[in-house]
Each structure stands twice: as C-alpha cells, then as structure tokens.
C-alpha cells in the first residue's frame, strides 16, 4: 500500500508508521483495519523496484549533517562537479531537501523542468555526464512553498528513486536537509535493497554545530550506514587585506578534529571560508573552475580525492 493512500485522512501517520491504524487520525479511514493488523507493514514493494532500477548505479553516497547552513548542498554540488570532470564517469546528483531545494540554483539549473517519458522522469543534465534531480524542477515559481508533512515527502523521495531514469551511473550523490527525520529515514529505507556505500558528514567548527552532528553520526550507526568521513567547513577566514586568520566559527571544543578522534572517524579535510564560494553558488557556477587556486578549491579537490579512494570504507 502507498505510504499515504489516496483515501487517507489529513493526519495519516503513514502506513509504515508504528501508529498505523492506531492514531486518532485513523478513525474513520477505510484502511484502518488493514493498518492496525500490521498487513500494511509488509516490506514496501518499492524497495525491490528501486533495487532493480538502481542496479545501473555503481556507488551511492549520502551527504549529511545534523546542522543546517553548514554547506551540505555546496559540497554535494561540487563533489558532483569534481567527479564529473572525469569524462569517462557518469555522475548523478539527487536533491532530497523537499522544503528547501538549493541544488538547482547552485548548479545553474533554475527554471529547468523535468520531462516524462516511457522509461520514467528524465533528470536535468548540467553536463553530458552530470544529471540532477530536485523537487525544485517540479515547482513553477521560486515562491512556491512545499508545505508537506512527512508521509508526502516520503512519497516524493520514493518516486525520485524509483521513477527517475538515471541510466548507467558511476556515482549517485544524495544531498539531504539537516536532521534525522522523514527524509533521512526514507532514503535509508528505500535504498535498503539497493545499498548505500556511505555518508559524508559536514560540520562547521563550533560546538553548536558538532552537538547536532554527533547525533547525525549516531543516526548513521543506528541505520548501519558507513561513515566515509567528516568535513569541517567554514574553518577559518583569511582577511584579503591583512592576511590574518579569524575563527569566525570558533572550534571551542576542539572542532571536527577532536570529535573525529573521539569517535574514531576520518577527518577528510578542512575548508576555509571564501566569499567567492557563495558568489559562485549564487551564480550557479562551480568554484572549482572559477577560482581553482583558492585554498578552498584546493581543500575541496583533496577531499574529493580522499572520498574517491575511501568510497567503500567501513566505519
């Protein structure tokens, strides 16, 4: 059964929820008895459909953080650009931030639309070998808000995995919103047949961020996703005039380095703040090609190399 059937009431908890059939919202729903009996909790057939669909996808990497605004989408976009710079590789970038889809803008694809064909939805190609999918392509205006509860977001994610015609792909990168909630559980659940190689975790140096990121790492352990490593973003700012470094987001508790030591995880690298990164993202260009010599671009390229080598690490 669909996660939220068409005839379900407004506050349907979802057919795979613990509350299925038992929540007060279930009163009067025609499916209530099915849900309450547990029959609806049989494994979602979509999991097997997705496993089959994604046999043409060699590697799947999630980009996660517990914290918002730390640079997940920026990293996902530029990881994709860097991997796609090898013409022999096919790269796909999936944006599952349903409420705040930034990937179209960062990839310079605003205003693009998705086309349907017999074999499913076509992703939008930014390069011949770099395909992108985001709910942003399904919205007609930049003001449109996606005011959806969990079950509806889950349904969209299932469609992204099952109905998009990705074709032969070497790397599928999945950009996520902050948190440990519906989007994250759904990605893990729907890819449980197809498999996830691992997750890259993004943080900024300060404890207020690390505090949330530790929870994200716990989430990965709980759902058995290997952690490829952690990136410390916005790590220091070098004044363009006097060249002194300021710690705008201070690592008061030792930053990502101490956290990685404590949790026995690889620190993939530190990326400094650079105003040109934000500008490139706003303009939809890759800063790896715009300012390749900047310390931030160099840091990113090093990190991409490490990810490439570590893609099947187990932590």
């Amino acid at each position: 059964m669909a996660d939220v059937p068409n005839d379900a009431p407004e506050h349907c908890p979802g057919t795979s929820s613990d509350q299925a059939g038992k929540s007060s919202a279930c009163q009067g729903c025609p499916n209530q008895n099915i849900c309450a009996s547990g029959a609806a909790k049989a494994p979602d057939p979509a999991i097997e459909e997705i496993r089959q669909k994604l046999t043409s996808v060699k590697h799947k990497i999630l980009v996660l953080s517990g914290k918002g605004g730390v640079g997940k989408s920026t990293f996902s976009a530029h990881l994709s650009h860097a991997l796609a710079s090898d013409d022999s590789k096919e790269i796909a970038l999936l944006d599952v931030d349903i409420c705040g889809p930034s990937i179209p803008k960062i990839m310079g694809l605003e205003g693009e639309q998705v086309h349907q064909s017999g074999s499913g939805w076509s992703p939008v190609y930014v390069e011949d070998n770099l395909a992108v999918m985001s709910i942003g392509f399904l919205l007609s205006s930049p003001d449109d808000a996606v005011i959806w509860r969990g079950p509806k977001k889950n349904g969209m994610i299932k469609q992204f995995l099952r109905d998009v015609d990705w074709g032969e792909v070497d790397y599928l990168i999945v950009d996520t919103p902050p948190g440990t909630s519906d989007e994250h559980l759904s990605i893990v659940q729907y890819l449980s047949g197809a498999g996830i190689d691992g997750a890259v975790i993004i943080t900024t140096p300060q404890e207020v961020s690390l505090q949330d990121v530790r929870k994200e790492i716990r989430f990965c352990k709980k759902v058995k996703i290997p952690v490829i490593g952690v990136i410390e973003n916005m790590s220091g700012f070098v004044c363009p005039k006097c060249k002194n470094t300021s710690q705008i987001f201070p690592p008061t508790t030792g930053g990502a380095q101490r956290m990685c030591e404590e949790l026995n995880l690889p620190l993939l690298g530190r990326v400094p703040l650079d105003p040109r990164i934000g500008r490139s993202c706003d303009e939809g260009r890759s800063f790896l090609t715009e300012v390749p010599d900047s310390p931030a671009a160099v840091a990113y390229q090093n990190i991409v190399q490490i990810c490439h080598r570590r893609k099947v690490s187990v932590h």
């Binding site: 908890p13 930034s102 207020v208």
Partner: protein
C-alpha cells in the same frame, strides 16, 4: 518582561547550550511540565527536547507524527505561567514542526513571524518559500533579518562580505515585507553563544549589540501597534 522560548527543533536543539542551562531535569507540577529557567528571577523560561534526552548525543530519529505530538505537548502541557512574549525557535523548512506549532498556537494568538536569512541568493531562495508559507497560513510577517551580513576583520577593520550582502534587504523589498536590519558575522557573538554567555551583557559596546537591539526594538514596537 517575562519571556518564554520554545525550541521546536527536535533533531537539532541548540537553545539549551546557547542559554547555558546545561542538562537540568524537567519536573511536573499540577499545571503541567515546569519549564527550565535561565535566570534566578525566572524571567526567561525555556522548553526544549534537549532537556528530555538522557544522552545529549542521542539522535531523535522521529517521523513527522511523533514530532507533531511532542510539539503539541510543548505548547499545551508546559506551565509557562504569565508571559509577555513566547518565542518559538524552529528548524529550517515548511513541514511538520511548523504546521504543528501553528495548529497548537491557533487557539491563542500568533502575533507574527520574524524570518532570518543570510545575504546570499541560495539562502533568500529558500526564505522566499518560507514567506509563502506564512502567507498561506495567515501568519503576519513582522520582518526579515539579514544575518551573517559582512565581517569586519578584528585586525585591520576591513569589511568582507563573506556570504555576499544585501540579499535580505532585497528580499524584503521584493516581497513587500519590513526589513528589520542586518547583523554582522562576529566571532565574539559566536564565541559567547558557544559558552552560553549573554552577549549583550558581555559586549554592550559592540556594534553587533547595536544592530541586534535595533531589530528587537522594531519588533517590539510592531507588537504594540
């Protein structure tokens, strides 16, 4: 002024650390859950899931309905007492948490929302959608704050627009909203938040303090109006 802060970011509750209240227990009284007070005079009451977790690294891995239920309890079952203002801190998005807060606050009055953006287009691009959310749910927009707006080097005073500049003000113009003001990137502010110290007490001379105060005063006057 008696203020309550309700932290409905269930996956990433940052308020307890920023207000330096540590890990107190939440007690029950006849009127419901007793909020945690940040000050001995009990003028600043707080409720956050951060107080309910045994282990602060524990992940809250909940789907929407469970988050909705807890937020309902936070609004209805906390014995806030007499408050002049209840502030609700939310996670990013336009989803379960935001709908749950509004549904539960409907029976009381929601004065409005303050929207925070950083200056660059990637941020204002999402905040436009939040503005639509407010319009659709009939929440008055008290105004827009442009945060992380420029960085003044403490060594040479050169101002760098780390996350671009002006996007918040442009967004306000574009959408017919009030522009409340800009707050710069300030390592002193981030450091005091890390330590849970009161920035306004610690650095009353700072221009960041002036910027924040002006925003606060504008919001308060719009509430009185």
């Amino acid at each position: 002024c008696a203020v309550g802060i309700l932290d409905v970011d269930l996956c990433g509750p940052s308020i307890p650390r920023m207000l330096s209240v540590g890990k107190p227990e939440v007690h029950q009284c006849d009127a419901g859950w007793v909020p945690v007070y940040a000050d001995p005079q009990q003028k600043l009451a707080i409720m956050s899931i951060g107080f309910l977790l045994e282990d602060s690294d524990e992940a809250v891995i909940w789907r929407g309905p469970k988050k909705t239920a807890l937020i309902g309890q936070f609004v209805s079952d906390v014995a806030w007492g007499e408050l002049d203002i209840l502030l609700v801190d939310t996670p990013p998005g336009t989803s379960d948490e935001h709908l749950a807060v509004l549904e539960n606050l409907r029976k009381h009055r929601v004065d409005g929302a303050v929207l925070v953006t950083t200056p660059q287009a990637v941020s204002t691009g999402d905040v436009r959608r939040e503005i639509t959310f407010c319009k659709k749910t009939a929440v008055k927009i008290l105004g827009i704050v442009e945060n992380m707006s420029g960085f003044v080097c403490p060594h040479c005073s050169e101002c760098s627009n780390v996350f671009s500049k002006g996007g918040g003000e442009e967004l306000a113009k574009l959408t017919g909203s009030v522009f409340l003001g800009s707050v710069p990137l300030d390592p002193l502010l981030t450091a005091t938040l890390e330590e849970g110290r009161d920035f306004l007490q610690a650095f009353p001379e700072s221009s960041t303090y002036t910027a924040i105060s002006q925003i606060v005063n504008t919001v308060l006057s719009s509430l009185d109006a």
